[in-house]
Symmetry: C2
DNA sequence: GTCTATATCCCGATAGAC
DNA sequence: GTCTATCGGGATATAGAC
């Protein structure tokens, strides 16, 4: 950070400046109101300049999403590692999922507004995503030794549940009531524990008819 | 519906034509690429005409969302009523949730891209939404007699889970593989059954320490 | 190769004429 | 109610300066 920083922008590292600036602007404006033109203006470059580094607006957003996904994955891994027991680990991950969405709504929404479509193409995006799924899979594996299919289903269920709480919370624009965030995060953790305990119903298709009585009121 | 329908469009009922056309255009273009200008062009009116009926683009989308929510609610109610047992009813609703999202991705996404913000203001939008929550609450109530708080938590968990599966599925743009839809729908139903069976962990906060062993590998 | 300048086209929204 | 005209902005494409 000595010689290169004489002309921090305008020269040298516009690509990195674009990603940095885009992340900031996203936080301020949200994905919908984010504009390449405003970003260019802020960086003091011409509106066409970004196109030397990114094919279009969405490609820049995808680059931001890669970084966001990395942070997201780190947050989840950190949450996960704080708990000793497997159930706790998964519940903590669900809680972390919701909290990340609430604390970084712009980053969270950019990841999921990109469309998983590009996650297939973009190798970086895919890697970042697979790292998250790996963390989850590792925590789930302890519950389903020797049953990879069941483990995958359980992991999907936990991911879907956490994502549902996060998405429903995030759909409310503006600031969140911290109490709502806590509530949603705890609920997501509770739902995760509930899924783990009732998980037999996930893969036992016969449960539908066989043990239907098990879920009835007492 | 006799005298008014002589000139269905262009005159007399532009408002209805806008809502109809918007729903169609949304299916073709998606929420993001939907434009009032293109809709106006299709209906053969000036770009300023819609503003006599809707304050802005979002207000028109909100009107479409009201209709979409009505259809969504009907679909869920229909699914729910096909099952006899309470557990089945809830599983069927979760399945219906995912299937609606997959079959009408444009309508589904317009509902949740509006932001629950407006659902508070817009009385119509709120009513449509509350009807859905009512259907769910009724089905859940059978599991939690005399425990309204627990019933609400259970309902939220089921909604979040179904929403998560639906949202993750819908985030992939383009057409869905029907097999994926079936899989996701069945998984959502299974997760719902799992939530019902493990539901004690939802509201029993002490479960975290007390019965942590119950969820451990055998 | 990177960036500026410029130009095109589309969109949302408003004001005022008919 | 609807149209015409118009403003402000944004996404891109191209040409040329460095």
């Amino acid at each position: 950070m000595s010689s290169k920083r004489a002309k921090p922008y305008h020269h040298g590292d516009l690509k990195a400046a674009l990603i940095d600036g885009a992340a900031e602007l996203l936080v301020e404006r949200g994905v919908r109101r984010f504009s390449l033109a405003e970003l260019s203006r802020r960086l003091g470059v011409a509106v066409a300049a970004p196109y030397r580094h990114f094919a279009n607006r969405d490609e820049l957003l995808a680059a931001v999403a890669v970084r966001a996904l990395d942070q997201f994955g780190d947050a989840l891994a950190a949450q996960s590692s704080e708990a000793d027991q497997p159930e706790q680990r998964l519940a903590a991950m669900a809680e972390g999922y919701v909290r990340f969405a609430a604390e970084q709504p712009a980053l969270f929404s950019v990841v999921f507004s990109i469309g998983l479509d590009k996650k297939k193409r973009h190798s970086e995006l895919r890697e970042a995503y697979e790292e998250i799924e790996g963390t989850l899979a590792a925590a789930v594996a302890e519950f389903c030794p020797g049953d990879p299919v069941g483990a995958q289903q359980l992991a999907d269920a936990i991911e879907a549940t956490a994502h549902g709480y996060a998405a429903l919370l995030t759909d409310q624009p503006g600031a969140f009531d911290p109490a709502d965030v806590d509530h949603a995060a705890e609920q997501a953790a509770g739902a995760t524990r509930a899924l783990l305990r009732g998980r037999a119903a996930l893969w036992d298709q016969d449960a539908r008819s066989e043990d239907a009585g098990a879920g009835q009121p007492t």
